[in-house]
Symmetry: C2
Subunit: 480 residues, 2 copies
Amino acid sequence: MDIEDTSADDLSAVLDSARRASTQWARTPRSLRSAALDAIATGLETANDDLVSIAIEETRLTEARLRTELTRTCFQLRMFAQYIAEGSYLDVRVDTADPNWPMGPRPDLRRVLLPIGPVLVFAASNFPFAFSVLGGDTAAALAAGNAVIVKAHPGHPTLSRTTADLVTAALDETDAPERLLQVVFGTEAGVQALQAPAVKAAAFTGSIPGGRALFDIANARPVPIPFYGELGSANPVFVTRAAAEARTQDIVDGFVASFTSSSGQLCTKPGVLFYPTNTPMHDALATVELPRVHRLLNSSIESGFDAARRSIAEHADVETLTERHDSLATEPTTTLLSTTATAIASHPSLLHEMFGPAALVVAYESDGELFDAITQIDGQLTASIFGEENESIVPELIEQLSGIAGRVLWNQWPTGVSVTYAQQHGGPYPATTAPTTTSVGMAAIDRFLRPVAYQNVPQQLLPHELKDSETAVRQTRDGR
Amino acid sequence: MDIEDTSADDLSAVLDSARRASTQWARTPRSLRSAALDAIATGLETANDDLVSIAIEETRLTEARLRTELTRTCFQLRMFAQYIAEGSYLDVRVDTADPNWPMGPRPDLRRVLLPIGPVLVFAASNFPFAFSVLGGDTAAALAAGNAVIVKAHPGHPTLSRTTADLVTAALDETDAPERLLQVVFGTEAGVQALQAPAVKAAAFTGSIPGGRALFDIANARPVPIPFYGELGSANPVFVTRAAAEARTQDIVDGFVASFTSSSGQLCTKPGVLFYPTNTPMHDALATVELPRVHRLLNSSIESGFDAARRSIAEHADVETLTERHDSLATEPTTTLLSTTATAIASHPSLLHEMFGPAALVVAYESDGELFDAITQIDGQLTASIFGEENESIVPELIEQLSGIAGRVLWNQWPTGVSVTYAQQHGGPYPATTAPTTTSVGMAAIDRFLRPVAYQNVPQQLLPHELKDSETAVRQTRDGR
């Protein structure tokens, strides 16, 4: 498929349509929005063989991985469909009038979350389904009641166009407004859309430099808009002394499987592992057999990986523990690098993400050294502990890691982010540009909603979820 | 009191203390944090006569107004104290492990909101209690579990210092960490604090240019932080035809009382009123007697008001309907200006905020003209309708106004913002820089919290609110 960049004229039509569609969609009852999300999921499922084969062609990812990802994508749509039908996400708060309120008579106040308006989503390269045209950001924004414009990732243009066409066909069978989801192509169109007054929020998954550039554009607008960027993360893993002794091989094998999964192209790839000296860990890491991995997504990812890997590997305090380079020049060099916690304390840039199948292992002598290193760690999506329940270091470790990461794991690997009610995929910068939010899980919908309170508005003029007669949606009344 | 600007050395000590205090405060049980907030309220109440007399001296506001404001400030602290003791604000979500989760086995995931870290609060001039040292932003940030640094407003330095000292004395009697609340003075110290790595979020109430400049600094940091700015708002009022005929004098009198209250120095002052032609409204507005008002807060506000008032009054499409200038040259000229909806459609800048006792009334011929004008209105804190329940225009008017304002009022005036569970004080830019949040009401606490999910963490290592045994805090389990 030959897909041209979106022209300025076409973009203008896209923006106008998005504005109209968003207004209409916001007024569409939740039950119908819910049904439309289900219809999209069915549309994608029905075409799954076609979608997966296009994705294999364009992304070099494996069929098994892509099928799982498509399942996740459809599951996510259906979960949001249920979630909005149920309605507690509206966070309805009703304070009835109270003449005896201690700060003076209180008016009747009723608060609800309304759709924020057209949302621009920048698709990622590494999840051609789950973080692309119909990925998590799009699902959350649509569920919230907004039209969506997706800036397609150049890594999978045909898949992007095909997905969008399937969605449009599915939505045509529902009560959804026309052009509710639209796709634009090209960097220029993406930047222009981000600057357009019609766009009220934007979401992004990708690299730190790319995300930061777009964040800066969003904030420099005459009318700035929320920009939800999920950028980069090293996802450090911390192995305690007891665990290092009790479960050496299990931990090493799990680590290698996790950091090489999808050729290491996962935002939650565990890129750094801290382990105690004088345990069998070092030898086990040095002698582990690295698996063969598949090619990286595209040449830009390839060169980025190579540069990141080299810059850390060539540091004076880093040695290459083991690497695997298969005969095909097209496959990346799977690499395990090694350094010490004292080196990290002086050179925190050693912790920078290497997007691909490489990781750095860090030897620490003492708990004090470990905690010193932690103070050097930037914001992270995840931090994982492999430990034993009764070790004295553990409570403080959990406490410290909850200060730098959005998700803290115990004896599990961070790859494979489940879509659930309680999931949190976020973290302090540079993990994300919006540390108070999540981009995976049901709470992701909050990013695309804005609160409005109605004061003294008669019952028949209120949105029905705010009325006294509402029984389906949970209302917090007078704080209870 | 002679108060010098905070030096760079002193600021450095403030930042170090804030970091330490924040860590300690975050670990302080909610019951003790709650008790400390109550103790602050008691400390302020006990000193209320002193505080009010200093405030009268420094702000020119009336004693009655200041006493009400101090009551509100203490009430707000006590309400947050109750709110955090109850704990539902933690938004606890528990998803137990589920091997049959449709997208693949689900791990045990438990999500909670944790304190974001030290918060910098820029105090406002117009509310020397409620939006200053111990105002809403500070109360919300402390309640959330963060240390606070307040950049004092130069309009009331002695009051700022006195308030901070009272708070410190009150906190010394509790288990709160040392230097939990600190005050810095001077523009340079404020900017440096905003750029400091120790500061994790900032809040501001003030003018559009001032707030925008700080917003830009917060976003330009190597590690950007959330900036919650409440800037400016014209708070338009819409009088329907039926209301204009039925309640002319009531509406005009209420309008004048509301826009001249506190000499018009309120962020929710109704600065613009739309009314239908061919009703008694015009004559009632032209002949209304404007009340005498007191001096504005300071010379900077005085010159700003004068410039804003003149720039609109001198526009070719604007006439001065009535004005009052009292003998004292120090009092502002209370002013009612008049224009038409068609003029607004061409010149939306006529709707810019005049911070002081002036308002613009706008005549509209038809409903269509009114809706055209609404499309020109920027983001607002509030929008008010004076109408009759059965008028056909009303549902669409509510719908449109909920799209541009954070609070929509029916037959009430927007001044006097009650602190309640459902209050919403926010809105699209330029009303605020963070349209998904509020700066008044219990939901204001959300701005200073960040979510963390714990995966597969054993019961005894979890924060107690996430444990299965927790009975005091509401948990959403498996989405229910």
